[in-house]
């Protein structure tokens, strides 16, 4: 027996970073929206200063994500096993924007034109074998107005370098693209470590800047300023100073009276009508199954679940899964490759066990095509970050300098002498999409309800391995310039399973992509797919602001074209 919910104009699956923005834009335009969210509502009281609860035991992933962790394999002939990488996101109103570090970068213009620009400068031969690198079907200029909207709506702190019509500000990011508006707040407070690393980068001739972050550096939008507690990542803000979407765009959507939120609701499938149009979604809460009718459906969950939900939504019109009649769902999966380097600053107290992860110094000198790649063996790059917000357990699990034992009295002595003197850098490398790297449904592993989980097939290619070496050299140079006596690297090439892209790629051609430049499915015109799963490439920055800008644009498109997109 399925209960039928009151029909709405738009059903959004997942009220996170993307779904929250969509809900705001759509309700603001007068559409009635149902937000179907797997997690609960959380408030500031739910956020505690406890690394074990938040980080180690994944408290905020318990409602759903922990029961369906994707499996992983690098060999397409092998059986997939447990992922070697952290994979979890948050299930809650606000989604993973509840616990993110809130770094809010715009992508560089180059990112949207990556394939053309690589070919133009280095020739076709520079495209790595097997890669499916493409240009995006949207440009920086297409997204710019929406970047600006999101920065104002969620509240982003930062130092603008290139505001249209104004002289460049050297305190901002030298490589920043032109922006129509400045950030609504100044950058977060600097720290001793962030200044130390900025000075060292400047001496190297690089261009350090303070990361832009959706965290209040001063009171904004009725919410207070950050107090730098140091429990920002894997946790929500204890005083609502982070721009998580439940505190801004979702709140505004609810205030219109046109957003109904269904919490603890696990979506089973997107349903279709006789014409092959999306007709709504079926979800379960407790033991009851519900059908939410809608004239348009937006799937706005995390990368893995976006692909999974489409593949699970089989019908006679879509026998291989919804929007998959061209076999593109699950293709072009990418995860950031994240080189980590560590440095020992003997006798110094760096005070990194406080503050928030977004108080950092970054450089974009090795991002995009800001440097000549001739002879380097890779294309693209990434932002390099001098990290903050160390956590005791995470720190104690870091790799140690060569020769230092990992346990026993000698380790304890080293920890006592040096724990406050270790700094770390990491790079978010713009890893490429490849034919070999795909998502599908695992044939043998299921969640607790017997539903297949996603299986990741991911091979590390030469382009990424060359980039890893390059960034290790650059990062260890930066650490030594800042005073590190010893530097070392993580012994394995780290893949960031939570910074992942593709599976429902956007593009102009239905033969090579799933959705159009607005995120609407080529095969199913009233079905939108939102989130980083639509990204054709990873980009060398944190993805969330681009997810949100793209979503804002997609939702505006739905409003503007409502008569032609909506079914019924």
């Amino acid at each position: 027996m399925t209960e039928r919910c009151a029909p709405v104009d738009v059903a959004i699956v997942g009220l996170g970073a993307a779904g929250g923005v969509a809900a705001h834009v759509l309700t603001d335009a007068g559409l009635d929206v149902a937000g179907i969210e797997a997690g609960p509502r959380l408030t500031a009281d739910d956020f505690r200063f406890d690394e074990l609860r938040n980080d180690v035991h994944a408290h905020f992933s318990q409602p759903k994500a922990v029961h369906e962790v994707p499996t992983w394999r690098s060999d397409p002939e092998a059986e997939a096993g447990p992922s070697p990488w952290a994979m979890l996101m948050v299930n809650a109103v606000g989604g993973t924007s509840v616990h993110y570090e809130a770094m809010s970068f715009r992508f560089h213009r180059w990112t949207f034109e990556a394939r053309s620009r690589v070919v133009e400068r280095y020739g076709e031969a520079a495209l790595p074998p097997g890669s499916t690198l493409v240009d995006w079907p949207v440009s920086y200029d297409d997204l710019e107005p929406y970047y600006a909207e999101v920065e104002q709506a969620i509240g982003v702190s930062g130092t603008a370098a290139r505001v249209a019509g104004e002289a460049p500000n050297p305190a901002g990011n030298y490589f920043e693209e032109e922006r129509s508006k400045p950030f609504p707040m100044p950058a977060l407070r600097r720290t001793g470590w962030s200044e130390l690393m900025a000075e060292a980068a400047t001496r190297l001739g690089w261009h350090p800047f303070a990361a832009p972050a959706a965290i209040n550096s001063e009171p904004y939008d009725g919410r207070p300023a950050c107090t730098f507690c140091g429990f920002c990542q894997y946790n929500g803000c204890y005083r609502d100073a982070k721009g998580s979407t439940q505190l801004n765009v979702i709140r505004r959507a609810e205030e219109t009276g046109r957003l109904r939120i269904e919490t603890m609701a696990r979506v089973l499938r997107v349903d279709v009508d006789a014409d092959g149009m999306a007709s709504g979604v079926t979800f379960v809460r407790g033991c009851t199954e519900y059908f939410q009718p809608a004239r348009s459906v937006l799937v706005a969950t995390f990368t893995y679940e976006n692909t999974r939900l489409l593949l699970l939504s089989k019908s006679s019109a879509y026998p291989d899964g919804l929007a998959n009649n061209h076999g593109q769902v699950g293709k072009h999966y990418i995860a950031h490759v994240v080189p980590f380097a560590y440095g020992l600053f003997p006798g110094r107290r760096l005070n990194l066990f406080n503050g928030v992860g977004s108080q950092v110094t970054c450089v974009d000198d090795w991002n995009a095509d800001h440097f000549d790649h001739s002879g380097l063996g890779f294309v693209g790059g990434g932002v390099v970050t001098a990290m903050h917000e160390l956590m005791p357990v995470a720190f104690a699990r870091w790799p140690l300098p060569p020769g230092v034992p990992r346990w026993g009295s000698e380790w304890k002595r080293w920890m006592k002498a040096n724990a406050q003197s270790v700094g770390a850098l990491f790079t978010q490398f713009d890893a490429l999409p490849y034919e070999s790297n795909v998502l599908d449904l695992d044939p043998s592993v299921t969640d607790r309800d017997g539903v297949p989980v996603i299986r990741v097939t991911h091979k590390l290619h030469a382009n990424e391995q060359s980039a890893h070496r390059f960034f290790q050299v650059m990062m260890q140079r930066w650490l030594r310039e800042a005073g590190a006596s010893t530097t070392w690297e993580h012994p394995v090439i780290l893949v960031e399973g939570r910074h992942c892209y593709g599976g429902t790629r956007m593009g102009a051609d239905a033969e090579t992509s799933v959705v159009d430049s607005f995120g609407f499915a080529h095969d199913v015109p009233n079905l939108g797919v939102l989130g980083a799963s639509t990204f054709p490439t990873a980009g060398g920055h944190n993805p969330t602001l681009t997810v949100q800008a793209h979503t804002w644009r997609a939702a505006r498109h739905l409003v503007d074209e409502w008569a032609s997109i909506a079914s019924g």
């Binding site: 407070r189 470590w193 140091g230 005070n351 026993g408 304890k412």
Partner: protein, 164 residues
């Protein structure tokens, strides 16, 4: 939750391993003294339950290794021999190669208990944090406290698991 504690003999072996990973010495109390065994036991029946059976097999195997090499239980070896066996297990060069996985798992759990929030049973009174010079959770860090080479003067840590 169904209670499923480790048998006493295995718990004794586990305790001996934990005591070697973070011993009580001139740099402060060890993991056993700070309640870390209790943390591991507790989470093996909850958050780490998926490792519960493996722990039992691993600990038995560790004892078999000790018996095969020295004719006694692991707990009866002197600490030098315990350390020597653990080093080979860590390096994957012991007779029981599968114990390398055990070593990594138990080290992870011991580190959690040693440096995690005291409300979980380990890191008693925050003494694990003292080892690494971490003051503990605070709501507000001043500009001065975030400078290099200074120790925040207001070093009163919040009650564990705070705020809320």
């Amino acid at each position: 939750m169904v209670r499923d504690p480790l048998p006493a003999a295995l718990l004794a072996t586990l305790t001996a391993v934990v005591d070697r990973l973070i011993p009580d010495d001139e740099n402060g109390p060890g993991a056993v003294q700070l309640g870390v065994v209790g943390y591991v036991e507790r989470t093996l029946e909850g958050e780490h339950a998926r490792h519960r059976r493996a722990y039992e097999e691993w600990l038995l195997r560790l004892d078999e290794c000790a018996a095969a090499e020295h004719g006694v239980h692991f707990v009866e070896l002197d600490v030098a021999r315990q350390d020597e066996l653990l080093r080979r297990i860590e390096a994957g060069t012991s007779a029981a190669g599968e114990l390398q996985q055990f070593f990594e798992c138990v080290r992870t759990h011991v580190v959690e208990g040693m440096f995690g929030d005291p409300s979980w049973g380990g890191n008693r009174d925050g003494v694990g944090w003292d080892l690494i010079g971490y003051i503990g959770p605070k709501k507000v860090w001043s500009y001065e406290a975030q400078q290099l080479d200074v120790v925040a003067n207001d070093d009163r840590r919040l009650a564990s698991g705070g705020p809320g």
